[in-house]
Symmetry: C2
Subunit: 198 residues, 2 copies
């Protein structure tokens, strides 16, 4: 790429290390940045660095936050006795967007994956068990519906069962608006197993 | 988006102003950045700011560069008498990737567009005409094959013709590997008009 001068080439190379940004997008982004007012570029750069530096885990639920305790955990309107266990902060955000969940969360930061060498000690599981020493009514396991997510859900439920705390798993099935014709067999079978009486 | 803490929300908002980065991608990028080592985030941020601050137009061809004269213009192996006129630095890069073009460039930074109120004075056209005072054999117009690109090509060729310098336009036609069935009619007609004897 010696047809661009040094700094442009470096910028394109840096941008193309980001996920989902290929060579073409990196180039388009670079030229967009070169075209932006300098102050806006500085704002963007500062947002990146200060978010990275300011962010850490919530002391209670381990979501990424720049507060000591995240806005959800510190919200008195949320039910602290219901804990939804998710794999990462993005999954938490997905449920928050529904606007209907009133409990709190626990972010594992991963899922158990023997294939990738990620064991129970590599995710925030010990921290979850510690939280369960407190006053908890229900743990809702909302790990992904993947092999790793299911393995993790199984593992957690086995761990919690002896404590007597209610453990539940979000339902698998046909997505709302989904056309059966295009749904894979495993999902179809899950939907059948999980059928509810009308 | 109050389910993320302030700095994360700000970072996502900043990232989603970039072209081709929607809400979902901005979120994915933000969490990737929060997961990167701090030094790497700083490198990326610095690359953006210093490229933006260091970059300006090449004094000869007006491409974006951080040198006084860009690497192409200052390369003694390039034929300074053949000038390819392109709309922007990305188009220059596209031709450089072919590795076959040995002349130099002139970057207009736009195309004439009466619809968008962009006239001949808004692009680096006066600067092109000034370059033609020197020793130039041919001007190859490689503006895009869009309405604006064609308008600009026409305008430039009319401007240059009286000087006696050879003016050419890159060919329009069916892309190599293109299937006629999927090519629009205008392109098919262009390809027919531009047919060459075998």
């Amino acid at each position: 790429m010696d047809y661009y001068s040094k700094q442009i080439t470096k910028l394109i190379a840096e941008l193309s290390t980001l996920p989902g940004i290929g060579a073409k997008s990196a180039q388009r982004l670079a030229f967009h940045i070169l075209d932006m007012p300098t102050e806006e570029v500085e704002d963007l750069a500062n947002a990146m660095v200060s978010a990275r530096k300011g962010v850490h885990y919530c002391k209670q639920c381990y979501t990424l936050t720049d507060d000591e305790i995240c806005p959800i955990c510190s919200n008195p309107a949320r039910d602290q006795k219901v804990i939804m266990v998710v794999e990462d902060t993005k999954d938490l955000a997905a449920y928050e967007k529904t606007g209907k969940y009133e409990g709190v969360y626990h972010v594992l930061h991963g899922a158990i994956s023997p294939m990738q060498g990620i064991g129970p000690a590599d995710i925030k599981l010990k921290e979850l068990m510690q939280r369960l020493q407190g006053d908890v009514d229900e743990v809702i396991i909302a790990t992904n519906s993947s092999l790793e997510g299911e393995t993790t859900a199984m593992y957690i439920s086995k761990l919690i069962k002896p404590t007597g705390i209610k453990v539940s798993r979000i339902a698998s099935g046909v997505p709302v608006g989904g056309d059966l014709e295009y749904i894979d067999e495993v999902t179809l079978l899950r939907a059948l197993e999980g059928r509810t009486e009308l």
